[in-house]
Amino acid sequence: MKGAAAIEVRDLTVAYRDKPVLWDIDLTVPPGVLMAVVGPNGAGKTTFVKALLGLLPVSAGRIRFFDAPYEASRQQIAYVPQRGSVDWDFPTSVLDVVMMGRYGRLGWIRRPGKREREQAREALARVGMEDFAGRQIRQLSGGQQQRVFLARALVQDARVYLMDEPFQGVDAVTERAIIDLLRALRSEGRTLLVVHHDLQTVEEYFDRVMLLNVRRIASGPVEQAFTTENLRLTYGGRIAFLRSANAADAADPAAP
């Protein structure tokens, strides 16, 4: 194997009381890929991302980023949580939220200054939000909130990006802007692991995919892992008609 994997997960199990939410997950994410994590509701997608970040207690398993434990690679990893995870009525401005991405590098007590403001402005420009810097965050639309979160992740200047449903509830224009940004990050050699819910766009947007439903059903390059059979295993029988438009699957006997 050449070089260390960006993310290496071995035997990861996370339990809620006695019920496993994630069971014995193995995953290797090579550097510089754009990888989707898909699965039905309750499959443990968000739990998986949070477990990688040490935000949840892990029952068993080993997680490494570039062959180092999470604690040692903290500054290399940026997290974009679901939009709904924060209070958008919080009294603060767009620029302030983006600057929070620099807090980790600043460390305790040191205040952000001119440099951090400039970096935040640059990141806002990259997501097309430079005119919103002084805006109060409660005035933002859903798509704008998502862009602010992405800008905040950009200023972290990380090697690995973990994103939880960045396309959730955004319009087509914003979705396009976001995927362009993710691709740009990939072409800079960064690694992106993205929880995704829209199966229709997996093949177009991503080069790797993990299908998750408590267990890892499959993972690898999209053309190998994203098969009708694997989707059926992940989602149960219901998924067949979702892909019936796909000519390659027209002969699938499960399709209506």
């Binding site: 970040l53 919080f90 980790g104 600043l106 305790w108 205040r111 109060q136």
Partner: protein, 371 residues
């Protein structure tokens, strides 16, 4: 005001400002009820520490009793972590138990000292000037003022030093954790600050006023600004206003000082809640009424625009017809027309027939493209 009254007023002002700082973060974290829990739960700690120190303003008592407050938070979170009890119920379970243990301790062992259940709830600022701090043989003022001043300064230092950490932990605890800021540590730091403030303030003003001063001014300040820094400063400012207004009202009406200040905090909040320029109730109502009329005018312009220059314009453009076409009451239709006229969107071709002005036409086509 007499010397004693000036001292009481100063004490009230310092208490208000000291409570507002941690209070702002409690409100932002949706943990306002935690101030209630802590300010009651510290009672057994105060009683126990009082047996040791025999001085309600001793720093040792303040710290020991504050530990009880933090212990109450721990208990609440322990109950929640079992996932059998929700947060509000956990708070409701923990603080009456601790508080009543304190009440029992007082009744059993401390009945003859300056500590009774009434004083705990409502405090008695009027007594503060009797307990003097003497340094180098000179009387330098009421002891409570110095104790509270020290706690207030500690709160200022805490918020100023850890402003960034408190902000990120309150806004996005997940991000704070991934950036290495230990939100649990920050959380307990804030709870310690709340506890110490509550203990120091309880003797002077009682636990009811502590809750009022930690919750009402920050909640009002939240309605006045979009900036965290301003919200904190405004919280302190509004708390001071409540302290001054409350004490002066208590003097005039000869009523409980702490009661009057807590009521004043409520009144200050009510005024802001009603009259805040952007987020007040009245501003919201005015905005909705204005939007209703603006929307009606827009609909009128679009209606006229759609039929302009067509044969049916002669009937569609009559005011009497609006009733039928837009299902508007006749009175409402006339008022919309009058407003649209005075805003220069429409003019009357004759008594009943309406026509768009160029400005009205522009407004209509803009509204249509933005639909």
């Amino acid at each position: 005001m007499t010397q004693a009254e000036i001292e009481i007023q100063m004490l009230a002002v310092v208490v208000a400002a000291a409570c507002a700082l941690p209070g702002a973060f409690l409100v932002l974290r949706k943990m306002a009820m935690m101030s209630d829990a802590i300010s009651h739960a510290i009672l057994p700690g105060i009683v126990a520490a009082f047996f040791l120190t025999h001085n309600l303003n001793s720093p040792l008592l303040i710290l020991a009793a504050a530990a009880t407050g933090v212990f109450a938070v721990l208990l609440v979170e322990l109950l929640m972590s079992t996932q059998r009890v929700r947060e509000d119920a956990a708070i409701g379970l923990v603080f009456p138990v601790l508080f009543s243990i304190g009440v029992l301790l007082i009744a059993r062992y401390a009945g003859d000292v300056h500590l009774d259940a009434d004083a705990v709830l409502l405090g008695e600022p009027a007594f503060a000037p009797f307990d003097r701090l003497v340094a180098l043989g000179r009387d330098i003022g009421p002891r409570a003022l110095y104790a509270m001043g020290a706690v207030g300064l500690a709160n200022v230092a805490f918020v100023a030093l850890f402003y960034k950490e408190l902000k990120i932990a309150a806004f996005d605890a997940g991000l704070a954790a991934t950036l290495g800021f230990a939100p649990t540590l920050i959380h307990y730091g804030l709870m310690t600050s709340v506890s110490i403030t509550a203990v120091a303030a309880f003797d002077a003003v009682g636990s009811i006023l502590v809750v009022a001063l930690m919750v009402a001014p920050p909640t009002a300040a939240y309605l006045l600004t979009d900036r965290l820094r301003d919200m904190i400063l405004l919280s302190a400012g509004l708390g001071v206003v409540a302290a001054v207004a409350g004490f002066q009202a208590a003097r005039l009406l000869d009523v409980s000082i702490a009661g009057a200040m807590a009521s004043a905090a409520g009144v200050v909040f009510a005024i802001v809640w009603l009259a805040a320029p952007r987020y007040g109730v009245l501003a919201g109502r005015r905005r909705r009424i204005r939007q209703k009329w603006e929307f009606a005018e827009k609909m009128l312009a679009i209606h006229l625009f759609n039929h302009e220059g067509l044969p049916e314009a002669d009937t569609e453009h009559r005011i009497g017809h609006l009733e039928e076409h837009l299902s508007w009451e006749q009175d409402f239709a006339r008022r919309v027309v009058r407003r649209a006229q005075s805003n220069g969107l429409v003019r009357r071709a004759d008594d009943d027939l309406l026509a768009l002005t160029p400005k009205g036409r522009a407004a209509a086509s803009e509204a249509i493209t933005n639909l």
